[in-house]
């Protein structure tokens, strides 16, 4: 099976809306944070529709709370489906975590215990979500800072088992692997080598803050060298894969992010030469 590679994208941020529309930058696609556009109308939504005319979109959510013991939020799923019908994204993704319970939202991506109970619970819910949406979704590995005593396996075994059971795919965040590896003391290559290449449909790259003893996934810095190294190794293992940079804070001018994206392009070129099959090149005219 050939893997669809959509090339190099960026997380679309408010600061860059106008620049994107006016300068039509050399980016193959944009990823949007789904919830930011679950509003009735107004400026951001109008920008999204304009940008959608020129670029494919990936929809990336933060509220699915797939691991929560709360019932699935059907109102959210309906809105998600409605937005997906409007935007026609290449992929819909969210995170392997829980964000709250009892209707209280932590607005954070909280870790799950890597237990059989959690595997069954999450896989079951992904199946329901995919049935409702009528399509497969991508699940992203989150950065984590603690391990529960209930965990019976590694994170990579946990995510592998879930995606196999639910038949969904993976959005592999290379920075999150690095951050978690440092915080938990595992070898990031053990993680990468354990993931089934056929399941990986997208990469995230991002910056973090290194405090020596631990690392926090802040998304407010340039991508660090060890993450670039890991990205190269991930390309070797997984093949050419849609890649993007996630910058959420301390946001630089669009040009700086594109320059950073060019580093990713360079690494990809080093690994594959010109031999990349871009499934969908953006029509330029």
């Amino acid at each position: 099976m050939t893997k669809k590679n959509y090339g190099f994208g960026l997380g679309l941020r408010t600061d860059h809306f106008v620049d994107v529309i006016e300068t039509q930058p050399n980016v193959d696609w944009f990823e949007v944070v789904t919830e930011n556009f679950m509003v009735a109308g107004g400026k951001p939504k109008n920008f999204l529709h304009q940008i959608r005319r020129d670029y494919p979109i990936f929809m990336h959510g933060v509220s699915l709370s797939i691991g929560s013991v709360d019932p699935l939020d059907t109102a959210y799923l309906s809105e998600l489906k409605k937005l997906a019908d409007e935007v026609e994204p290449l992929w819909i993704s969210d995170h392997l975590c829980f964000t709250g319970m009892g209707k209280i939202n932590s607005h954070d991506l909280l870790p799950l215990p890597y237990s059989e109970e959690a595997i069954n619970h999450v896989a079951d819910r992904i199946i329901q979500v995919q049935d409702f949406l009528g399509r497969q979704i991508l699940l992203e590995n989150v950065s984590s800072y603690l391990t529960y005593t209930d965990s019976q396996c590694s994170e990579w075994e946990f995510i592998s088992e879930i995606v196999k059971k639910a038949d969904c795919h993976i959005l592999l965040d290379i920075n999150n692997i690095y951050v978690s590896a440092r915080n938990h003391g595992f070898d990031p290559l053990d993680y990468i080598n354990a993931i089934d290449p056929a399941r990986v449909k997208q990469f995230h790259l991002a910056g973090h803050s290194d405090y020596g003893d631990y690392v926090i996934d802040t998304h407010d810095q340039d991508i660090a060298d060890p993450v670039w190294d890991l990205y190269e190794k991930a390309l070797v293992r997984f093949g050419a894969t849609s890649t993007m940079i996630e910058r959420d804070d301390n946001i630089p001018p669009l040009g700086d992010l594109i320059a950073e994206l060019d580093i990713a392009r360079g690494i990809s070129h080093r690994v594959f030469g010109n031999d990349i099959d871009l499934t969908q090149r953006r029509a330029r005219g």
Partner: protein, 261 residues
């Protein structure tokens, strides 16, 4: 078996929201980082995120009350109103009523009013889209259709009425000027999102407020004019009414005209 996942999530949430320590017994001690530090990373992020949300949504209220009271506001509000919303954009929805009810903020009722004005600006910014009619469509209305004419406003249009002069306070702080003293007043403002999708507002005089209230509740132009007689002299009535309507049409506040179907 299901119990474990439930219990762990509950313990984690109780820790984040209230600092309850029962989760500590269920976290693995790994390497040089203590369990307390690991948990604290999450609690710190949680508190920081909510603080930033209040700060982003209510910058003017923040400046007005000063750092010390703002810290107190963040602490009390986040404990009293943990977010039950999907999006942080609604986290501060209860902030004005919290400020109105909770000491020490309630001793200065203008604080709650200022926050209410800031929230309304955000509501206007996020309102749904809809077409508007301009001056040309308005003046194209045939003479016999005027008496029954009713107005559907653009979904972003809101009126803000306050017993305090908080709009002037808001404007001064926004312009980096010392705010005027808080005074009881009968300010009324009309807010809307313009064609460039920017939020705008203007102060309303009495005839404008009267016309807006009447049209908003579904009155026809004839009924609006009758109500307007209470605040405008006879001979100025039609000029005044047409003037106000033209202004609304120019600003893109009128979604559509109806009443003559």
């Amino acid at each position: 078996m299901k119990e474990t996942l439930f219990e762990r999530q509950q313990q984690m949430m109780n820790y984040l929201l209230q600092g309850k320590p029962t989760i500590k017994d269920h976290i693995v001690q790994q390497g040089a980082i203590t369990v307390d530090t690991r948990l604290h990373i999450y609690r710190n992020a949680y508190q920081q995120r909510l603080r930033e949300t209040i700060d982003t949504d209510h910058p003017v209220t923040g400046v007005y009350i000063g750092d010390e009271l703002f810290d107190q506001l963040v602490q009390q509000y986040t404990i009293s109103y943990p977010s039950s919303y999907r999006s942080l954009r609604h986290f501060c929805d209860e902030l004005p009523s919290f400020l109105a009810d909770q000491e020490p903020f309630s001793e200065h009722p203008q604080i709650a009013e200022l926050a209410r004005f800031e929230r309304l600006l955000l509501t206007v910014f996020d309102a749904s889209d809809a077409p508007v009619i301009g001056l040309r469509e308005l003046s194209g209305l045939k003479a016999p259709d005027w008496p029954n004419m009713k107005i559907q406003f653009h979904p972003s249009v809101r009126v803000f009425e306050s017993p305090w002069n908080v709009v002037s306070v808001w404007q001064a702080i926004k312009d980096d000027l010392p705010p005027p003293n808080s005074l009881p007043s009968s300010e009324a403002c009309l807010l809307w999102r313009n064609q460039q999708r920017m939020t705008e507002f203007v102060h309303l005089n009495l005839p404008e407020l009267c016309m807006f209230r009447e049209f908003r509740q579904g009155s026809s132009f004839a009924q609006v004019c009758e109500a307007l007689l209470n605040v405008v002299p006879d001979d100025e009535l039609s000029a005044c009414a047409v003037n106000v309507l033209s202004k609304w049409a120019q600003h893109g506040l009128i979604g559509s005209l109806y009443g003559n179907e």
